[in-house]
């Protein structure tokens, strides 16, 4: 079943929509949640994903169903992480968030806060300006939560080399955010 057909099922309020979405993107969402939270909490996040999609379509009519569902899983994962307050249970996410701290400019002297969506837009533009390989690497690490070790395996380099490369990308993003006067 293609994405337009699945979306049509959601729009017609047919419960097969959930089954079809789960069949097609269950593994995809499971991988994201598992990367971020670990196996234990991933399953619940994924099953909540279908309910959230059911509540949002309609009126939402996603241009990419895959990215839409993956985004919901990501949002649910961070919510779960926040509610747990137990960082040891979300080791993957803890490490990832700590790495993302590198990208943030020093808040001193910068007063204006930027809305999340404006920041998302800026991030999209920054990503589009990167060479494709770097863009994919950055999102695989920080959107999909793929580990540095796995990324190194995919790219055929050492884990250390990949970690260095990711650090450069984070520094580049930090530079961009500083240049735009972004305070978070």
């Amino acid at each position: 079943m293609n994405d337009l057909e699945i979306i049509a099922l959601f729009e017609q309020r047919k419960e097969e929509a959930v089954a079809a979405a789960a069949r097609k993107y269950g593994g995809y969402c499971q991988t994201i949640a598992q990367n971020l939270l670990g196996i234990e909490d991933a399953e619940e996040c994924v099953s909540d994903t279908w309910l959230a999609a059911w509540n949002r379509i309609p009126p939402a009519r996603p241009a990419s169903l895959r990215a839409f569902l993956g985004g919901i899983t990501r949002t649910l994962s961070i919510s779960r992480f926040r509610s747990l307050h137990a960082q040891k249970r979300g080791a993957g996410l803890t490490l990832m968030l700590s790495e993302l701290e590198d990208c943030l400019p020093d808040p001193k002297g910068v007063e204006e806060a930027v809305e999340t969506r404006a920041l998302a837009r800026l991030l999209s533009d920054w990503l589009r300006g990167l060479p494709r390989e770097d863009r994919v690497l950055f999102l695989r690490r920080y959107w999909y939560g793929v580990t540095v070790k796995q990324l190194a395996g995919e790219a055929g380099c050492t884990e250390n080399q990949m970690a260095q490369h990711m650090r450069k990308l984070r520094q580049a993003l930090r530079g961009k955010l500083e240049q735009e006067g972004i305070a978070i």
Binding site: R61, R66, F68, I72, T75, R132, L137
Partner: protein, 490 residues
């Protein structure tokens, strides 16, 4: 935790980027290359040509031929890797693919570097002057121009003129001296010149001399080096020279302006002519789905017109901008650049917006993100398919903008080009054609899944329907308006 804020923002990045990163880059290289077969898919086809003609007061012709004096070497644009040509034993030859990809990437880097050597601010005053001057006064008609195209034509004109004639051109362009102008024109050309198979943005210039006009070879050489301009010589008024002119213009504009170029010919009294062209086509970053295009009504000045209305929901990346008298949205192109659509408020005409300093400021801002009045919304966008042509004679507008000496036989100074006296500019014609549609990739799996998926739909939504006369501007990767126009009748 601040990093969580970044996490939240990352969650909402453009869904197309997220899709792209679903698999490691290496695997995707194959996929991207396969898309090349569909590159014919064109969202916007645009072309423009400028013809500046100079005549000699006394007149007189001679000779019988038409031939090239200088031919420029155009910048390299390695083709976007073609996977079909790189198949070996049923598999893509990864080594060859990587080599082809690196070559493409390297040439692209040259363009990016050129783009970083100037900014839209460098041409702000020029753009603020010419856009209203050229597009105003055409109430009810479609009209468009290419400020970038004209800038290159004027830069060439400055190179062939001297004294006050040149100073007036520099003043209009807002450039202090010839060295700065040469650097600017060169970078402008390099940044916008690309025909790698994935996109097309081609600029071309030429100078056409009458065969009995003495000329200074070093100036023609400089035109070739700095402006990538070809030089031709021939008998003005002869069929051979006219044919060469039309052939050159048609080739440089991708045959998009055949109606306007049609019977174009040199007047026998012409002693020199300058031509500059742009041929541009790009795909939308997220294409319109053809099955969503439906019949619509456009409320034109003279009454209602039937049109085909393309529809798209812009979600996570959707920003709505507004001013006192207009609303606006932008649509990005693949590989950079964008189109901005400005819809005047009810009761306000696009022509009136051209006189509105706030609307002009929006057109000229390099980065819409910095526009104060903006809001992230779900935008239900409706854009009529349109294909508009216009032919402008710009002499009078340029005179009013202070470019008087070049048009006056008593004051025009063409001494850097020729020792012949009495040469002056007699006319400046500018033709453009702009076609915008959703299509491209019919029957392709790659277009069925466009990529603007949103994780968290915003709370508010807006319908942005271009069903009455509107303004648009097309920007290259350098965020300079390559084309600006008014659509009164799609």
């Amino acid at each position: 935790m601040r990093s969580e804020k970044l996490y939240d923002a990352l969650t909402e990045v453009d869904g197309a980027l997220v899709d792209e990163a679903a698999a490691p880059a290496e695997k995707q290289k194959k996929k991207r290359a396969v898309r090349l077969r569909w590159i014919g898919a064109i969202a916007a086809v645009l072309a423009a040509a400028i013809l500046l003609t100079a005549v000699l007061r006394p007149g007189g012709t001679g000779g019988l031929t038409a031939y090239a004096l200088e031919t420029p070497s155009y910048p390299a644009a390695a083709p976007y890797p073609d996977v079909n040509a790189l198949m070996s034993g049923g598999e893509v030859d990864q080594e060859a693919f990587t080599a082809a990809f690196d070559a493409w990437s390297s040439d692209r880097w040259q363009r990016v570097s050129a783009r970083n050597r100037y900014s839209a601010d460098d041409l702000h005053d020029y753009l603020a002057a010419v856009i209203p001057a050229f597009l105003g006064g055409h109430d009810g008609e479609n009209v468009s121009c290419s400020p970038t195209n004209l800038c290159l034509a004027l830069a060439m004109l400055a190179e062939t003129t001297g004294g006050e004639t040149r100073e007036q051109i520099l003043s209009l362009l807002g450039v202090s001296d010839m060295d700065s102008l040469r650097a600017l024109a060169n970078n402008l050309f390099l940044a916008n010149y690309n025909d790698d198979g994935a996109m097309k943005s081609l600029l071309a210039s030429a100078i056409w001399l009458r065969d009995d006009l003495d000329y200074k070879a070093e100036t023609l050489k400089r035109l070739a080096e700095n402006y990538y301009a070809a030089s031709f010589r021939g008998t003005m008024g002869s069929e051979a020279y006219d044919k060469l002119l039309r052939q050159w213009l048609n080739e440089q504009t991708g045959q998009q302006l055949t109606d306007q170029i049609g019977s174009l010919s040199f007047d026998p009294e012409t002693v020199l002519a300058l031509t500059a062209t742009v041929d541009f086509s790009k795909q939308w970053y997220v294409e319109f789905q053809p099955e969503r295009t439906e019949d619509g009504v456009f409320h034109a000045v003279g009454g209602e017109l039937a049109c085909r209305m393309m529809r798209q929901d812009v979600d996570s990346a959707g920003f709505y901008y507004w001013g006192e008298r207009f609303g606006a949205v932008t649509l990005s192109f693949k590989e950079g650049g964008e189109t901005r659509f400005l819809l005047p408020d009810e009761g306000v005409t696009p022509e009136a917006l051209l006189e509105d300093s706030e609307a002009l400021a929006f057109l000229l801002t390099q980065n819409c993100q910095n526009w104060e009045n903006s809001k992230n919304l779900i935008i239900h966008l409706s854009v009529p398919k349109f294909d508009v042509s216009s032919q402008l004679t710009l002499d009078q507008s340029l005179r009013e903008l202070g470019l008087t000496d070049a048009f006056d036989p008593k004051t025009a100074d063409f001494s850097p080009l020729t020792d012949t006296e009495g040469v002056f500019l007699s006319e400046l014609r500018h033709g453009t054609r702009i076609a915008v549609d959703e299509k491209g990739v019919t029957a392709s799996a790659y277009t069925i899944i466009p990529g603007a998926g949103a994780a968290m739909p915003p709370d508010e939504e807006i319908d942005f329907t271009l069903d009455r006369p509107f303004l648009f501007a097309v920007y290259g990767e350098d965020k300079l308006p390559l084309f600006v126009g008014v659509v009164n009748q799609p």
